[in-house]
Amino acid sequence: MAEPAEKTPLESIPLAEPATALPVADAGIEAGVQALTPRTIADTVRRVLGAETGARLKAYLSTCTHCGLCAQACHFYLSNAHDPSYAPIGKIKHTLWELLKRKGQVSPEFIRQASLIAYTQCNMCRRCAIYCPLGIDVAYMISVVRRICRALGVTPLYLQDTVNSHSATHNQMWVKADEWVDTLQWQEEDARDEIPELRIPLEKEGADIMYSIIAPEPKFQAGLIYKAAVIMHVAGVDWTMPARPGWDNSDMAMYSGDYDIMGRIKRFHFDTAARLRVKKIVMGECGHAFRSVYDTGNRWLGWRMPPIETQHAIDFYYDLLTSGRIKVARKYEEPVTLHDPCNIVRGYGLHEKARYVVNALCEHFVEMTPNREYNYCCGAGGGVINCGPPYKQTRMRGNSVKARQLEATGVKVLIAPCHNCHSGLEDISQHYHLGLEVKFLADIMYEVMEK
């Protein structure tokens, strides 16, 4: 039999049960809620809303016509049997509307629910932003709720742990300074078995490019560093990686609402590039890190645009392929489909370049529908996957629409040029028995390029 016996036909996937009904034990949220008093809640809500929000929030809240047209944008709504509490504006009803109406006079239990909604039932994917006729940004409003929850100390434990790691080590995964260098040298050594003259140049001042990645790479996916090194070497790029902290471009503080930490780590990342006097930063295949560098973190620090040119891997690969620095020996034969990550497509419009790269590397590319700006979120981004195992079911139930979309392509190889998407889609493939092989562009490029 070709298919596993336990395969669930997608139509029979139970959709109706709201995720809030799932028993979720989260020590972080629990401890936070225990420490709340009505007074601290009211003061904090007033402080955050008063000091940090302004015209945008006011305009969004007062112009929203309660038309519900944003509902169909959200995968949580679509996947949870159209339960209106998952509609973008439904989530605002249960959070900001109440907070404002009651001037912050809400119970600790209310904050617990608000925290669950803001951190685990919205990926801040901004799909609803292109559905609202009035241009209302629900993702922004959710970020305000997260900011309040964070200020109250009611944050999911796993997410907070990554933020603590950022704060203490300048990377997301508690990677120790010597581990980092060891990992790079280990990958360099392995790669030299394949290409003897290959180097991973550390701390090379004045190089053209600083290559920065997210901490899960050295922690769990060191092979990606190997592949990046091979690509850089073959393309003849003058590049370097920092040996000291500042190499991690990821940012969970942006998602937890710890903006001071976000600012610190973003500055450190830019400072590292400045210290190495590189011309630009090239970032690995990660979406949220790009959002942090290009959109959120830089602005918090007061830079309208990143102070140093910053390129996402897709953009970089596009340059390598169009300039002929990387040539394709034999295209990847199996049919592939491409997931457009929110943070670099709705966030930076890389969809056409991504298609160029995929078509250059692969024989047979099948579009999923909807695609480009209209693609469904993976359900992992926005810090949701980082909230950890307690919320895996929320994510899985909250994205059956993605499973259906993927299955409809009939393709078994899925390219996801973003770390969060990659992990989230692997979970979806497993949960819904889709049998997909999820790949980064670097995986395929490494496989098909002339070396």
Partner: protein
């Protein structure tokens, strides 16, 4: 009695409604711009004329955005509603005649039949919106009493106006209701959700600019 009320409504009350509308609109704009200046100055540095217009054009042209194509009935009703809502009060012959009497100014008027149909489109659309609010769970979920009241408030001047135009029995007092409800609608507009008439230009422009100039992506 009716005559006195008519005098009051067509004179001082009308002025009051117009003044409240203008002052209210200016006040809303002033508070928003003050907030931008005090707390979110950065918004100005991201505004782009080109992408604001791109966004506005796509959302003011029927079926030019994905969501409009996904909801064709809503799109047709919304456009018809908004157009009639704005055009009928300004280009109705009966209104223009009044202005001519008062200030000696006049402009092009809608043909009677068209005006009649357009006046009925507004309450019909309000009924559609109300049914939609009741029947669609995602809309009902975020609907409050105020949303229904608002629909009633919008429909009332049009229904009563049509009644008078047809000179149906007892249209004299109905005319008073027509004038008063229209004035209430006008005067409260800046302070209800209808203020999207004023603020939408800015929220749309900002979203359009962020999406176009920063994110290089479509927002429609």
């Amino acid at each position: 009695m009716i005559h006195t009320l008519y005098k009051l409504l067509s004179g001082p009350m009308m002025w009051l409604a117009v003044i409240l509308f203008c002052a209210g609109t200016l006040y809303r704009l002033w508070t928003i711009f003050r907030l931008v200046r005090r707390k979110e100055k950065f918004i100005c540095s991201y505004l782009s004329l080109r992408y604001s217009l791109r966004s506005l054009v796509h959302w003011l042209t029927p079926f030019a955005s994905l969501n409009m194509r996904l909801n064709p009935v809503m799109t047709v009703v919304s456009f018809a509603f908004h157009i009639c809502l704005l055009f009928v009060p300004l280009f109705l012959l009966a209104h223009i005649v009044l202005w001519e009497q008062a200030w000696g100014i006049h402009w092009w008027a809608l043909p009677d039949l068209v005006a009649d149909i357009m006046s009925l489109v507004v309450p019909a659309a309000c009924i559609y919106f109300a049914i939609r609010r009741i029947r669609k769970p995602e809309v009902r979920y975020v609907t409050g009493v105020g949303d229904y009241l608002l629909l009633g408030l919008i429909a009332l001047p049009f229904v009563t106006g049509f009644y008078c135009r047809m000179q149906w029995p007892g249209y004299g007092p109905v005319m008073l209701v027509h004038m008063f409800s229209g004035q209430v609608l006008l005067a409260t507009l800046p302070f209800t959700r209808l203020s999207h008439m004023v603020l939408m230009w800015f929220t749309r422009s900002y979203m359009g600019s962020e999406f176009g100039a920063v994110r290089h992506a479509r927002d429609y």
